[in-house]
Symmetry: C2
Subunit: 397 residues, 2 copies
């Protein structure tokens, strides 16, 4: 039997591929600090669990393919709070942001069509692109100049007759970049000049620091028909396991088409939708507390990395990730070694090798992505372990 | 902007496309008996809800991409009870059977590769195939001879250099067909002769009548490396809204590859996995009671249809659907009319037009699929309404 080429050529998640090694380490009694995955330690609001507990039904039935009405309404109200005027008919509930991306790519790209995406980018954009048969064309950005987008002339050079969309994550996982108004304008102009869709993944909207603001593509009237907003409650409400996301677009033609994709998988799980509906009632000041907490952690990680010999990184502006260049040849080997051959007092750290966040050959081999999703004390310990790990690894080479 | 051809050419679900009309009917105070969708009225075991209620966690976190260990173990144990020797490493938990089908097609077919599938078939096979860029090639079967598969010489004629897999649903939605041992042997031989995968969707395994038995492809040692079993708890435990399914295969190469697809969507929702883990403890005699209930309903629907003038159908052998040929030119128009223009004492029925269960041009236009998922009393009422509807519709033509 022939296994498909597309699945053979697909990369394993750089965030999850080392899980067998961390599982093994834990089995052997090692404590592993997880800096590899964007799984916050922040408590999920009790309201979620209480709503699920109080949900009374005899038959756990399918919901509408579009999503549970109460959850759609919650999203609409939430967006209104951000000055985004979506209506009920503009929203499709999805299995997390992941499915939203898949549906957006399936709806905008045919086989071998291309989408532009600032690189480094969330590794699963590439896998999901491969599932959809669409090709990720990198907009190369670099830590040296804060992951800024190139100017519009440079951007234009990347467009081919097969380009269909620009996929942009703002704030960015993994770089923490928050795009400024000139960058947003350039992307808008590029889309207008070349008749492209903008798939704007804004799941980290709330996590922005240093007084910066996120400028949503959803707020630009001029391009409202070409913007597909991607969202998720995973990070905002620390409910990653709920797998609740959504697609929002004022382009009712594409929403109507994407509903067929929703129908093909029937619906999103009922209980998680029920619980998620109430999360939006979370106190704004609680959200602000969480933001402040991440800001604090950001500074801890950044300061610690800055002190490590041979490590290069820039202060992230948003989300809760930082990209760091390490003084190692191959960051994946190092990350694996941390799990299999290293420990301090029975503890080690897990980091995500960054090569999988690039498609440009050769980029990212000596970089890692670090998620600052642990509490300050654990983060400090984890950074000390990383520092010691780097020294030991260096001594062994 | 260009919307993709693949999504434009995708059909809307024949089971769900008339939902706006049933919503409208309900809004106007009409009661609608849903015979269109396989949403059973059987109660979901309380154990599911109780397990979810008792699940105590601070952070609703991602689970492993493969699935929650306890749920995987439940599937393994369940299969062992059926004499199917799957181990933990052979199982991937999926978002319902739908995602399992998508992953199986993505892993076996590249763009424009073909899979054979007995027609009529579950309509979403076609949509999911289009998502994967794979082409459904129908194995034509007909009600006249009980939807039997053609002999191996006929089957062989359908194979091309692009054929990668046979997708078979046993027992079948929508026909209720249960494949006999000679049919199973032919499919096995076809797979062996042409080096194909067999994607065997056995979600209705428990729902078989008249003393028949389901013969699982998973039990044939000779082809264990080419069988990908598709499963779901939706129907078995009346938990459609949980969206919990799985892929099981002894081919560890393809399981390892498909894990990359699981990683690309991170994980299946946590709470639903937690609840589902315990469903497998459902009493076997309770399952048998449910089977007996469906058997009873099957007879009600079949007898009623047999009495209706101009209606043709065969007694289904399994699952809980029946395909019926109606004395109308266009069953979709009729199904829509039942919702918009017809009622008896404020009540009407919703049925699924069957054209979407076919890919062969012209087939199924005058057929519908009826799900016997309502209680006997409601089913009887619904069948009387359908009968009256047919008479009225006929009078109007």
């Amino acid at each position: 039997m022939k296994i498909s080429d597309r699945i053979l050529s697909m990369q394993a998640s750089p965030i999850r591929k080392l899980v067998p090694f961390s599982d093994e380490a834990k089995k052997n009694g090692k404590k592993v600090y997880h800096l590899n995955i964007g799984q916050p330690d922040i408590k999920t609001p009790r309201l979620f669990f209480e709503t699920v507990k109080n949900y009374d039904t005899d038959v756990l039935a399918y919901t509408h393919s579009q999503g549970l009405r109460s959850l759609i309404d919650s999203f609409v109200e939430y967006y209104n709070g951000w000055g985004l005027n979506f209506e009920e008919r503009d929203i499709l509930i999805t299995n997390g942001g992941s499915e939203a991306i898949l549906f957006a790519l399936l709806a905008t790209c045919d086989q071998n069509d291309e989408f532009l995406v600032p690189e480094p980018f969330y590794a699963n954009y590439n896998s999901i692109g491969e599932m959809a048969g669409a090709i990720a064309v990198p907009i190369v950005t670099k830590a040296d100049n804060g992951f800024a987008l190139p100017d519009i002339a440079e951007l234009q050079k990347l467009v081919t007759p097969k380009t269909r969309a620009i996929l942009i994550n703002n704030p960015s996982n993994p770089t923490g970049k928050v795009y400024d108004s000139s960058e947003i304008t350039n992307i808008m102009q590029l889309a207008l000049n070349n008749d492209l869709f903008i798939i704007s993944d804004e799941v980290y909207r709330e996590f922005v620091y240093d007084g910066l603001e996120v400028f949503s593509f959803g707020s630009i009237k001029e391009i409202e028909d070409r913007v597909i907003l991607i969202d998720s409650i995973s990070k905002r409400y620390s409910a990653c396991g709920a797998r609740i996301g959504c697609i929002a677009s004022r382009n009712n033609m594409i929403i109507k088409q994407m509903l067929k994709l929703c129908q093909a998988r029937l619906c999103v799980p009922t209980l998680e939708q029920v619980g998620a509906s109430e999360l939006f009632n979370m106190n704004k000041s609680d959200l602000e507390k969480i933001r402040t907490e991440y800001d604090y952690r950001r500074k801890i990680v950044y300061s610690a990395l800055k002190e490590m010999k041979g490590v290069f990184c820039k202060m992230p502006q948003g989300a809760f990730y930082i990209m760091a260049k390490l003084p190692v040849e191959n960051a994946e080997n190092f990350a694996k070694w941390l799990l299999t051959d290293f420990e301090i007092n029975g503890e080690t750290v897990m980091i995500a090798p960054a090569e999988g966040f690039y498609v440009t050959e050769g980029r990212g081999k000596d970089e890692v992505r670090i998620s600052y999703v642990l509490n300050a004390k654990d983060l400090e310990k984890a950074m000390a372990i990383l520092d010691a790990g780097l020294r030991r690894y260096h001594a062994l080479q």
